[in-house]
């Protein structure tokens, strides 16, 4: 599947649309329902963070969702927006669970591979999901 791109205004009312679109794309790519649930959460978190970053910085441009599958068993998805990834939440360290960084903890726990890009004027969260399999059990147990 070649890449699909969705641009939405930086407003919380569009997070549901972003989930709907990525769900349809993943289903078309053959992803299992269980894995689609993980994908939906991770995408929802990254989109929410991007929207909130736009609001903090009063950036007006759109949030971009890109996805596709390079091979039959890999689905990749990127959320792009203004904003930056502050030090300490760049995905390199495992935050102690609690009330903080819940979103980033979920992204790290659910995607097979995550790559945060920033700080720049554009921040991106790039994730990869195996289409047919559940994630390595370690992702859940190690927390």
């Amino acid at each position: 599947m070649r890449d699909v791109e969705l641009h939405v205004p930086p407003d919380v009312q569009y997070v549901g649309l972003v989930r709907l679109v990525v769900t349809a794309g993943a289903r078309q790519a053959g992803m299992t329902n269980e894995r689609i649930e993980d994908l939906k959460i991770a995408v929802s978190e990254a989109t929410t963070n991007a929207i909130q970053a736009h609001r903090r910085e009063q950036a007006d441009g759109p949030i971009t969702l890109q996805f596709g599958s390079a091979s039959t068993d890999q689905f990749h998805v990127t959320i792009l927006g203004a904003g930056y990834i502050p030090t300490g939440v760049d995905g390199s360290e495992s935050t102690a669970a609690g009330e903080r960084n819940l979103g980033l903890t979920l992204i790290r726990g659910l995607a097979d591979v995550v790559d945060f890009q920033g700080p720049t004027t554009k921040a991106s969260v790039h994730m990869r999901f195996t289409v047919g399999l559940t994630p390595p059990a370690a992702n859940v147990d190690s927390l």
């Binding site: 997070v15 549901g16 959460i41 929410t48 929207i51 669970a97 819940l102 903890t105 979920l106």
Partner: protein, 113 residues
């Protein structure tokens, strides 16, 4: 899919039934509801999430906020959840250690912690 919220008394507990999608767009409604319930003196709350179709960190944050609120009145907030996909996000975020989570409403109502 909108968020639906319904509450009722069951003995000394207040059961709040949540249905639909809880995300950054709908979570404020859930937060307001919890604030309202606590404001009216409901301190023993059971949140029934059996009909929740989507929940992300914004929803988790609101539940943690509700827990703090009832605790400041020596109350309790427990959850009913039997969906693996939802339980998974409580596990990943370590919140299974923070909330009493029950398989069924009966079990939650019998729990006397």
């Amino acid at each position: 899919m909108e968020l639906t919220l319904n509450h009722r008394k069951e003995g000394d507990r207040t059961v709040l039934e949540v249905g639909g999608e809880v995300d950054v767009y709908t979570a404020p409604k859930l937060r307001e509801k919890l604030v309202e319930l606590v404001g009216e003196g409901h301190y023993q709350i059971v949140v029934d999430m059996t009909k929740v179709e989507f929940l992300d960190s914004t929803g988790l944050g609101v539940l943690v906020g509700g827990l703090k609120r009832v605790r400041s009145h020596d109350g309790s907030l427990s959850l009913v959840c039997n969906q693996e996909r939802i339980l998974k996000i409580f596990r990943i975020t370590g919140l299974t250690k923070v909330f009493p989570i029950h398989d069924s409403l009966d079990e939650a109502l019998q729990d006397t912690d």
